[in-house]
């Protein structure tokens, strides 16, 4: 029944569908038709628009400029009236089968994810100043730590007869359940409180998600599971023939064991005798077995009489096996997996040796097949991803770099170590990705329209698909592309009107935006054959597979090459970073503001010496110097000041940040190392300490104090006496001793400073 014939002409199918929703209303511009009509019908089930909708959009998809979010979306965005198919464990198989045909027919597929959080600590937010590798590390941390809770998939099929797109939004609930007993990963995931609260504001149904969400195995996990099963399989066949020596003899220690063994022996004998004495008639035992077979009830297993062994402890089962081995050649102990994960133990009567071998082989094969099936069903939601990948359709997302990283980490395997590797391996799986956020920036007309507007999903949707809100305020040069929503033929019980921040509806909105953007790019869908690959369209092709790694990166990455280039038209808020000139400082007194850090460093290194101080959180900051040599000078000076327990270090201008003795500083690479750690502390300073405590480089602890004081005389005093002067020139003038340089070199190595404890 689940096998829909995909050859059925789609047009015919939809026309005959009773739940197909279309109002051929000449009064309304076509794109509104579906939405308008649904509104009346579904008003009752609509979820009330919660207040403060847009303020929170920033959490799930950071808006441009970080200024809070899409004011443009307006309050009307909530009650969409778009029927979204809800998929949970119960209807997964059926929905997947239908989706297959729909994706095959689709011109493109809108995709969206809802996650349990975005950043595991405030300092893990992406900053404009982040180097590409650091940004990727932060993204990877987020993708690995948080769970995907909903996957929205919305195929858009072009219907030439109606000259419209037909969309079928699906909303899959995901929950990472442990489906396989062999799977020993802990399945722990993080929830960001604000994200969960945000989802709650949009009436996200956590009960459905946790109870009915579909689980998954990534490709890597599947492989591992199959391997484990194969090993088990081979191991088991081995034990059944040879290794069984080991558990052959369980010493019967207690009286109860002996009594139990004896009674079992008698019971089995009794049962066996009954079986043997009554001839078989058509595979049924003739006489009334029940009364003769004592406490055992006879069942049939592979056409052989058998007993179910229920309610025995594992120790007792071992004793039973021993009894069988020792006393009954024709009774075989068989363990099969029954319904719902339980293993069923049986004793089967098998009269000849050949039959016994046959039986064991049969059982083993069943076991293997059963396990493979279990693995297959455990793949769960990944079937959807595999389906999208194998159809090689154009996938459309909105600001979707984090989404695709999540998809990779959850459904493919562990994220690679560099962004380039990630881009290339993702590209192999999904050859065509379009990001509507990027597409909006490539067309002049769209840019003009979106000027000063938030580029969040809902805001873009209300601007580019204005007809959906029944106002034709901005007559644009092209008529909007018509989009209809198509329901299912069978039941409507699993349909709920879509609402913002439900993955299914967001996927639908993304697709709608994409269709309009295509029109802006001059793509005429009217001249489109339904099965043509949109991804290879010349007008679109040059924008495919380009997306921004984050909203504030100012770059675009080409997934097909893994190369990043600056995004044209991106307005930087900070001067471009020179990473060799940057140090990271943490652990300074919490009352110290970035401005004060800048001032006190400038007092020592000269007024123009610091270009930027960027606050990571209340405990840490990035400081960019004008000159690269200032980095080492600063680190040296800091080390020296800390070493010298004297008035100099208290009077020194840097004491503002060094006060408290917990202040650490290091080069930018250390910042990267700290970001790459799997630890996640709330404050950066705690994180850095935790990482450095475990880092293996513990050198520089035993520096000779005499040498240090020599350095101190040279450097620290010079800096103090020179006041505002730049110390780098005068540095080391008085120091003749070469070993001082060696000591300093040792100190330069950032980690040496990190591990120092005062």
């Amino acid at each position: 029944m689940g096998h829909m014939v995909s050859r059925t002409p789609p047009i015919h199918q939809t026309k005959s569908s009773p739940t197909h929703r279309r109002v051929p209303s000449p009064l309304h511009p076509p794109a509104t038709a579906a939405a308008m009509q649904m509104q009346g019908r579904l008003r009752r089930v609509l979820r009330a628009p919660p207040p403060r909708i847009l303020l929170y959009h920033a959490i799930s998809s950071p808006p441009n400029g970080g200024n809070g979010g899409g004011g443009g979306g307006g309050g009307g965005g909530c009650g969409s009236g778009v029927a979204v198919k809800q998929v949970t464990r119960g209807n997964m198989a059926e929905a997947l089968e239908k989706l297959r045909g729909r994706v095959r027919e689709a011109a493109f597929v809108g995709v969206d994810l809802e996650m349990s959080g975005v950043t595991s600590a405030p300092w893990r937010d992406t900053f404009e100043l982040d180097r590409a590798d650091v940004r990727y590390l932060k993204l990877r941390d987020s993708a690995e730590r948080f769970a995907a809770l909903q996957l929205g998939v919305c195929p858009f099929r072009w219907d030439p007869a109606k000259s419209a797109f037909v969309a079928q939004p699906h909303n899959f609930y995901i929950f990472p359940r442990k489906e396989l007993p062999s799977d020993c990963s802990s399945h722990e995931f993080l929830c960001q409180t604000t994200s969960i609260d945000f989802l709650a504001k949009y009436q996200f149904d956590f009960n459905t998600c946790f109870r009915e969400g579909v689980s998954y195995l990534s490709r890597a996990q599947e492989e591992e599971a199959l391997q484990k099963f194969n090993m088990l399989y081979h191991g088991q066949t081995a034990t059944s023939s040879t290794n069984s020596e080991e558990d052959r003899d369980i010493p019967l220690k207690s009286a109860s064991d002996i009594l139990f063994t004896e009674r079992m022996k008698m019971n089995f004998k009794e049962w066996r005798d009954v079986i043997v004495s009554k001839p078989m008639v058509d595979n049924h035992l003739s006489g009334n077995i029940k009364c003769c077979a004592g406490q055992f009830q006879t069942v049939f297993f592979k056409m052989r009489p058998a007993i179910m062994l229920n309610g025995f402890s594992s120790h007792q089962l071992k004793l039973i096996q021993q009894v069988l081995r020792k006393n009954f050649k024709d009774l075989v102990f068989v363990c099969t997996s029954g319904e719902d994960d339980t293993s069923e133990k049986k004793v089967v009567y098998s009269d000849t040796d050949e039959d016994r071998i046959l039986l064991m082989k049969d059982v083993q094969e069943d076991l293997l097949k059963n396990r493979e099936e279990r693995v297959k069903s455990a793949i769960g939601i990944r079937h959807v991803i595999d389906l999208l990948s194998s159809e090689r359709k154009l996938i459309v997302g909105h600001s979707c770099f984090l989404d695709i990283a999540q998809v990779y980490s959850k459904f493919v395997g562990p994220l690679p170590s560099s962004i380039k590797e990630f881009a290339l391996s993702f590209h192999k799986i999904f050859p065509h990705i379009a990001d509507t956020r990027h597409l909006m920036s490539v067309n002049q007309a769209v840019q003009k329209l979106m000027k000063h507007k938030s580029k969040s999903l809902s805001s873009a949707f209300s601007l580019l698909c204005p007809a959906s809100y029944s106002s034709v305020e901005k007559p644009s040069s092209h008529p909007p592309v018509t989009i209809e929503v198509e329901g299912d033929e069978t039941t409507s019980s699993c349909f709920i009107s879509g609402a913002k921040h439900e993955a299914g509806y967001d996927a639908y909105m993304t697709g709608c935006i994409f269709a309009q953007l295509c029109a802006y790019l001059g793509i005429k869908f009217e001249q489109f054959s339904p099965l043509e690959n949109l991804a290879t369209n010349t007008k679109l092709h040059k924008h495919i597979n380009f997306l921004s790694p984050s909203w504030n990166s100012g770059t675009v990455i080409d997934l097909s090459t893994g190369m990043e280039r600056p995004e044209p038209g991106y307005m930087r808020r900070f001067p471009a970073a020179v990473y060799d000139n940057i140090i990271v400082i943490w652990g300074f007194p919490s009352k110290v503001r970035p401005k004060e850090i800048k001032d006190c460093i400038c007092k020592v290194f000269g007024s123009g010496s610091v270009t930027t101080v960027f606050s990571i959180d209340s405990t840490a900051a990035l400081v960019q110097f004008k000159k690269q040599e200032s980095v080492n000078d600063f680190l040296d000076l800091k080390a020296v000041l800390e070493r010298a327990d004297s008035a100099i270090s208290i009077l020194h201008p840097l004491s503002t940040i060094l006060e408290g003795g917990q202040t650490r500083a290091a080069k930018y690479d250390t910042y990267r190392d700290i970001c790459s750690s799997s630890e996640s502390k709330y404050l950066f300073a705690d994180q850095a300490e935790a990482v450095c405590a475990t880092s293996k480089n513990q050198l520089g602890e035993n520096v000779d104090d005499n040498l240090i004081s020599g350095v101190l005389d040279g450097v620290a005093l010079a800096s103090v006496t020179e006041g505002d002067g730049i110390i780098s020139d005068s540095k080391n003038q008085d120091i003749a001793d070469v070993t001082c340089h060696d000591i300093l070199d040792a100190l330069h190595d950032g980690k040496a400073l990190l591990v120092r404890r005062m």
Binding site: P122, Q192, T194, R211, T694
Partner: protein, 599 residues
Amino acid sequence: MAAPRAAVASAKQVTRQNFAEAVRELGAHLEACDYVAVAAQKTGAPTGWRRALPVDTAETAYLKAKLAAESFQPLQIAVCPFRLRSSSPSTLVAYPYNFHLFPRDELQLGMPSYSFSCQSSYLSTMANDGFDFNMCIYDGISYLSRVQESLARQKIFTPRPQQLLPSPSTSVSDSVFVNRIKSKILHWRKGYADPSKKDDGTLVSSLSRLILGGETYGSRPSMSIDVCSDRQVQLVLEAVNHISDDLVSLVVPHKAGAARSVRVIFTNSKEDKNLLLMDIQKLEDEQNFKFRGFREVIDLLSSSQKPIISYNCLNDMTMLHTKFIAPLPPNLHEFMCSLKMVFSNVVDINHLLRQIGPLRKAKNIQAALSYLQRQYFVPIEIEIPQQDGTSSVTKNEQNVLRITKLFAKLSNLLKISPECQLQSREQCTAVEEYCNIFYPSCVVEGSYDANFAIESDTTETVSTDNIIFLWGFREKSVKELKSYLIGLHQAFSEDFEVKLLDKTCSALIFRDSNTATQLLKEINSEGPSLNRFFSEGLKAAGFEVYRKVCRLGLWDSDLAEVLEDVSSELGVPTLPECSTSQIYWNSALMLDLKEYLEC
């Protein structure tokens, strides 16, 4: 047998909707009760070697409890004040409450918790048991810990009334100040209170307002008086008190803390004043709810000084401490001291179970209860006067009622009596004798079968010197491992026990500590006698390395991985330092708070 059966009782379900009312009731019940049982439903528990293991010392067990408390989030906390009367049959009167929690950021300050961990198997089980996540997340009560509240109070300032303290002698400058303020207020007040001016037009009144420098508080006229010390605040309050009854003053804190002002509000009648005071009170209640939320319950428990009864004390108390009091201190000693200041008497049911021989093997509350049911005759009449209409009983309230019931029975058997000190009757024990001794349970939570763990009866204390951590054996069972080791070194021919700690690492416990230290020495110096041991890929480390792993909080990977990292980092063979501790092998560990407070 008069089997005491708990009726299908359900606790009062509390969300932010009915929190205020529930707290009021709970306060009254706490007053009248003898004990309070507490149970929590969290989003997960540590897995693998991060659980408390039989090799853990009190210190490492604490560090593990700390990890769990910091990562997982309580979603429900059940509190059940109860009264026990040892009449015959004993009666138990219980008032269970089940509070739904969610760490919503009510003040937009990133508190109480930025993020929390969930274990999907835990959530699955909860979901199957019918746990209502939506209720929790949509309507759960938020909270701030005491430390968080004081942080928040530094960032968000609300004017609040302050009590006038009995003032010490006033100096000359004080009285000058008071007089000046007095005349200022009097002048201002005249503009409103003088009945002769009532007929003034609106223009005049607004003009006078302008001139007098008045403001409004809501619809009422008010004026601000700047002050620069707490003393001045008191003086202003005093002045206001002297002038008239129709003035209400609020103290307005300032960002810097010290400099503040006092706001004086004019009310035109007694009723109006009461109305204003009620408004202020309401505002304050709302603010307090945002600043404390559920913590109000914890504060109530703390101030009531009633003994707290809990099952998994170390886990629950660390959780309560970190969520509602302050971040957990780095070591057990400080934790115990800090906890004692909040809850002076905490009884671990696990400790009581250990007083009754056979019960020490009970894996969980359920098992203990059914054992008691079968083996002892302890008739107890249970009365739960308040019932919530709902028919479904959540796991958490079930747990708290089980704890209550179990404690009632145990205290009957052990002759613990709440009235002990008062009446000093024969053979009764004060509950204090059992307080503050925790057993971190090594048992996986959630296994509710009523079997007893197969566990030897004897509790041995083993020194940490006798333990060697072994890894690199690939997937072998304990039995395989033991027979495999015997061939590798003569030390393994001696008597030792093997326990798998996680899938990568196991602990070897030697009877003789010399063997262990000797073997460890040889391993560290990579002696030739161990060539086969090393070539098989085996690695070993002493307890110090494990202790260090726990102290550094390297919880993220498999135990073998971190032991390897840390031991290679230590580089030079570290002989066990002077700090040799004891572990309670083969049993749960015991932490005696008194012991920690004495040192």
